[in-house]
């Protein structure tokens, strides 16, 4: 089956690449441009995995993460956090708030692809 993926980032310059990349990897891709938008799409589309940026308007990635984990319907959504916040403390915070993985910008797209594949394969 085709996995659904949501890309949540407010920067069009990364969205364009990620969207192209994930589509190429044959995922069913949707995008969100801020935190609230991301929540709405997750509730509507029920993606298997979310590529979640931390610094977003309306709601930060941290807040989105918390809300997802707190909501029974969507709490099993896989979350891969992407962030320009490079400090260890930020990574620890993301993981503590429920992210499954954490990638610091800039990252190589190969690594991203392999992390996404791993995460999706690990869960049935």
């Amino acid at each position: 089956m085709t996995h659904k993926i949501l890309i949540a980032d407010d920067e069009p310059n990364i969205l364009i690449s990620l969207e192209y990349l994930m589509k190429r990897e044959a995922y069913d891709v949707s995008v969100a441009r801020d935190g609230q938008d991301a929540i709405d799409v997750i509730l509507r589309e029920r993606p298997h995995l979310v590529l979640l940026d931390v610094m977003m308007p309306r709601k930060t990635g941290f807040e989105v993460c918390q809300e997802v984990r707190a909501n029974e319907q969507i709490k099993d959504t896989l979350i891969l956090m992407l962030t320009a916040k490079g400090r260890e403390t930020d990574a620890a915070k993301g993981l503590a708030l429920g992210a499954n993985a954490y990638l610091t910008k800039p990252f190589s797209t190969k690594e991203l692809v392999s992390r996404v594949r791993e995460m999706l394969e690990r869960t049935p």
Binding site: E11, N13, S17, L21, R24, M55, T104, K105, P106, T109
Partner: protein, 721 residues
């Protein structure tokens, strides 16, 4: 006289005894004889009567003389000696007693004289030692005070109940910055001897710090100090270090604390700088990260060989866009805050003229190059690392001398907006700009001494700039240093210090001893109270008909000492005209009060200045009426006890005709300076008040309550007549 009569009696006594004896013998012998025998004896004696009488007289006289001598030597002389010894014993008189009377008496006198001499010598020794000791203590105190005043850190010493015992100049400046009404009270309402530190710091905060200091002392920690950071009411951030003042070593309990030392650091600016730097750094890293991520992802996509032309163009656009974003970011960063990113170097505030004077001296000593100052702005305070700057100037002057045989240089200092220009000037020689600007990059060499630093390093250390300019018209050229100025708050503090030549009264160790118990104010001794002695200048005499205060001056008396440095002096904009007739009295022209704060700004500041003190004024009723009429408008009530030097003077010198301030001052020999300025009058009133205190004590008036009652009585008494 009494003594004389006794001596007379003593002299006559042998004669009387002789007469009595002879009479008795005659009578007794006569009674045993027959009539014939008696007649025969009578005849016998009659013929020799003259002889017998003569013998009797000689005997009586001789014996009388002897007894009189005896009396003089054995009775009178010891009595006199006794009296004189008693005088010597009672008083501080020292005089040699004359030896008289018997040998024993004379010996006794000599012994007493020796004892007195011995006593005097001992007394002199003790006095000398006391003098020496107190001189030493005084010396130590002033050494400590001098040391404290030179410290670049703020230091405040408090007694255990939080009263300020000692503070230094730096603390004074810092508290000026903390003041909520800096323009009016200038921090004097916060920092003053005997004032409570709790007006600045939360009592609980101090208590907590003291507690942890105590704990550390009990654990025998090497340095039992505590640290805390706190915000003040004026929103400043202070880092405070507390160290205990221990009880003197003689006390058995070594853990006893008698007070504490606070070392203050205003870290508001530091923190602002730091957070600005943090923001910059964060903006730089986070922003760059996402830009890099965007470019990296786009680049990765571009590597796919099967990319169609449209997508390729879009990814290339992303890269172009992000490159532009990053360039812009770097540009902004450089423009906004090169200073913020510099490593900070310990800078000091220095009076510009001091720096110039030091440079002039060094250039003349090191290079024997004549050097003078031109156009110095003496008001400028620089924030510099004076040593490296001095070296840079020395180095440049040296190269000018060596390579161009310059015969004279000048130094110039001028303000330039937020910064200052410091110029090294010489008369123009043929030299290329490239040559001299090359000096900026060479390691500085002064004589045989080389430093790895360059002029550019020194300039960057100051966040400044350095260039070379020509003034063709004047045939001059100069190097210009653009240097930072010192923080304006602290400049003001330094400049405002010149009020008095005498040594500043920044400490009062006697406050350590002052009892902390809060007794009823009325029962407190006059000598141990704190006073605010003040005077107002007004537009006229009638506040209820629109007359207003135009100046308030006040000084403090703490622990019986007049604190000249802790004054309050403020002109007030009365919001009305100043009658021309009053101007000769107070000397305040209308343009002097223009732009000054109004009474609703000044009174709260004055109220804070006078907090916890007794108000003293000459003819206080007059000044108090002005203050009380403003209560509604300003919302501050002056409900402190008030003493009036006019009434107190009437109390101690009831028969004097005048109790005007001038008359009293003359009576007490108080030098009157600046009479009829509020500050001048307050100062005179304070001096008068201090001289009144002992006179009141002589009249049995020791407490505030007694003074007020007694003054009331004179007041009513005066009203009756």
């Amino acid at each position: 006289m009494k003594l004389d009569r006794r001596r007379l009696l003593a002299t006559l006594l042998p004669g009387l005894v002789l007469v009595t004896w002879t009479g008795l013998v005659l009578a007794l012998v006569g009674a045993t004889l027959a009539d014939t025998e008696r007649a025969a004896l009578g005849a016998l004696l009659e013929s020799r009567a003259a002889l017998v009488l003569l013998l009797g007289l000689v005997l009586a006289g001789g014996l009388g003389w002897g007894v009189s001598r005896l009396y003089r030597d054995r009775v009178e002389a010891p009595a006199r000696l006794l009296e004189e010894a008693q005088i010597l014993l009672a008083g501080d008189v020292h005089r040699e007693l004359g030896a008289q009377g018997s040998a024993e008496n004379r010996g006794l006198t000599r012994a007493i004289n020796d004892l007195v001499a011995q006593r005097e010598q001992l007394r002199g020794d003790v006095e000398a030692r006391v003098r020496e000791a107190s001189h030493r203590i005084e010396q130590e105190k002033s050494r400590l005070a001098a040391l404290m005043s030179e410290l670049t850190q703020s230091v405040v010493v408090c007694s255990l109940d939080g009263r300020i015992i000692l503070y230094n100049n730096r603390a004074r400046m810092q508290f000026r910055a903390l003041s909520e009404a800096p323009a009016v009270a200038g921090g004097a309402e916060l920092m003053g001897l005997g004032r409570s530190i709790y007006t600045v710091f939360d009592r609980k905060l101090i208590a907590h710090a003291l507690e942890s200091v105590r704990q550390r002392m009990q654990r025998d920690a090497a340095s039992p100090s505590a640290q805390f950071v706190t915000t003040t009411r004026a929103g400043q951030l202070l880092r405070v270090q507390m160290a205990p003042v221990r009880a003197s070593t003689v006390d058995a309990d070594s853990a006893a604390i008698t007070g504490f030392v606070l070392m203050l650091d205003n870290i508001t600016r530091e923190l602002e700088d730091e957070s600005a730097r943090d923001r910059l750094l964060q903006g730089l890293t986070e922003g760059s990260r996402s830009s890099l991520a965007n470019m990296q992802a786009a680049l990765d996509m571009l590597e796919y060989p099967d990319l169609d032309a449209a997508m390729r163009e879009r990814f290339q656009a992303v890269i172009r866009d992000e490159t532009a974003v990053m360039s812009r970011r770097i540009q902004d960063l450089v423009a906004s805050s090169t200073e913020g990113l510099k490593t900070r170097w310990p800078m000091e505030d220095m009076l510009g003229t001091d720096l110039v004077a030091a440079v002039l001296r060094r250039i003349e000593v090191v290079h024997q190059l004549p050097c003078s100052a031109v156009d110095l702005d003496a008001s400028l305070w620089l924030r510099v690392d004076s040593f490296s700057l001095l070296q840079a100037l020395l180095y440049l002057a040296g190269r000018l001398l060596d390579e161009f045989k310059v015969r004279h240089v000048d130094l110039r200092l001028a303000a330039a907006g937020e910064r200052a220009h410091l110029d090294l000037i010489w008369s123009d020689q043929v030299m290329s700009t490239e040559t001299v600007m090359g000096w900026e990059m060479d390691p500085m060499k002064i004589g045989s001494e080389t430093t790895p630093l360059t002029v550019r390093d020194v300039v960057e250390r100051h966040g400044g700039a350095f260039w070379f300019e020509r003034e063709r018209v004047r045939h001059q050229a100069f190097f210009r240093f653009l240097l930072p100025l010192a923080n304006p708050h602290e400049q003001l503090g330094i400049a405002g210090l010149g009020r008095s030549d005498s040594r500043p009264e920044y400490y009062d160790f006697d406050l350590f001893q002052a009892s902390s118990q809060a007794r009823e104010l009325a029962d407190r001794k006059l000598s141990e109270l704190s006073y605010t002695v003040f005077d107002t200048e007004t537009t006229g005499l009638d506040p209820s008909n629109g007359d207003e205060i135009i100046q308030i001056g006040a000084v403090r008396i703490v622990n019986g000492k007049l604190l000249r440095q802790e004054g309050f002096e403020q002109l007030v904009d009365p919001g009305r005209d100043i009658p021309a007739a009053s101007i000769p009295i107070h000397g305040i022209q209308p343009d002097m009060v223009r732009g000054q704060p109004t009474i609703d700004k000044v009174l709260p500041a004055f109220h804070a200045f006078a907090e916890d003190t007794v108000l003293v004024a000459h003819n206080a009723a007059f000044d108090m009426r002005f203050l009380q009429l403003k209560e509604q408008q300003t919302g501050v009530r002056f409900d402190q006890p008030v003493l009036d030097t006019l009434l107190l003077s009437a109390l101690v010198h009831p028969s004097q005709e005048s109790h005007g301030l001038e008359a009293i001052a003359e009576r007490f020999n108080v030098t009157v300076i600046g009479r009829h300025t509020a500050m001048g009058d307050a100062m005179v009133t304070a001096e008068v008040f201090l001289r009144l205190l002992p006179l009141l004590a002589e009249k049995g008036i020791h407490t505030l309550g007694q003074a007020r009652d007694a003054a009331q009585k004179t007041y009513y008494a005066r009203l009756k007549y």
